[in-house]
């Protein structure tokens, strides 16, 4: 075996890249949920501690992270539906590319208005 894989990256199509994106967004959402469960659990410690921690989230950097979070969740959710259809709907595999386009369209339709509204909140005060 070559000691270093000197080969190129496999040039997969949307199927492979959506799988990569599904993994990345999945791991990202997992870490968000971890933090989210922890900070929400602070209420049990003391409401003041909770308020203090949640207060630190009110800044533009976290605001931008929220944009990323919503983008990731939207993709993960709708691509998840696509994957279920690919596995369970008899015509799914043959239509996977169309389903992928559907995921993209729904993602844009929901994400763009969200970003517009969210950012006016974050930066507009």
């Amino acid at each position: 075996m070559p000691s270093k894989p000197a080969g190129t990256l496999y040039r997969g199509r949307e199927g492979m890249w959506s799988w990569v994106a599904h993994r990345i967004t999945g791991v990202g959402i997992f870490f968000f949920l971890l933090v989210h469960v922890l900070d929400t659990a602070l209420v049990r410690v003391s409401p003041e501690a909770y308020n203090e921690v949640i207060g630190t989230y009110k800044n533009p950097i976290v605001g931008l992270m929220e944009v990323g979070l919503v983008g990731a969740i939207l993709f993960h959710a709708f691509n998840g539906i696509r994957l279920i259809l690919v596995d369970f709907w008899a015509k799914g595999p043959r239509n996977q590319r169309k389903l992928m386009i559907g995921v993209g369209v729904v993602w844009v339709v929901l994400f763009v208005p969200f970003v517009a509204r969210h950012l006016t909140h974050v930066f507009g005060g």
């Binding site: 040039r11 690919v86 595999p93 996977q96």
Partner: protein, 234 residues
Amino acid sequence: MDVKVKILRYNPEVVDEAEWKTYAVTLQPTDRVLDALHKIKWEQDGTLTFRRSCAHGVCGSDAMRINGRNRLACKTLIKDLNPEKEITVEPIKGLPVLKDLVVDMEPFFDAYRSVMPFLVTSGHEPTRERIQSQADRDRFDDTTKCILCAACTTSCPVFWSDGQYFGPQAIVGAHRFIFDSRDEGTEQRLEILNDKEGVWRCRTTFNCTDACPRGIEVTKAIQEVKRALIFRRV
């Protein structure tokens, strides 16, 4: 036309590491990548090692990664590859490289053998042929076309990171008998593929479907086996 072909060379008897070598060859646009490899081997460097037998897309010997995707060298025309740029040729991924473009196919064939790719029946052999309706025959028509080239299995990201996974081809091989009305080994094959290294490893990246030189809808075949397992109905 003058074409540059960049090949990932590896000779374990000389160096430890694979390295890229570029060759300039004059070809017709309608030549195939296999013709380019022949020209290089015959006219420039006789040590270049690759497999091929039929040279016409029937035997499945010459699957390799051409411009980053698994293809048969004998079915890939130069003009379809954007020949203004260098054409890259590497061995298929996930199987041990023996030399240059030749990989050890044994793990791949082992997976194929383990799904019992032969007709299983019980009772006396009939004196006449085993009758099957056209509709029944059509159910597995697609998966009879497989030529065991390994393009699908070695295009699968799951197989690259987990060599234990049966891989798309073994599932195609099993599908061909699972959905054959004359066969009686369905239960056993489904049990084999219900393994944690079986169909459930499939992440539907569709790399296999894209790679198959026979145009088999590999992911669809895998999905049909998954559904047969879930609903216990073939």
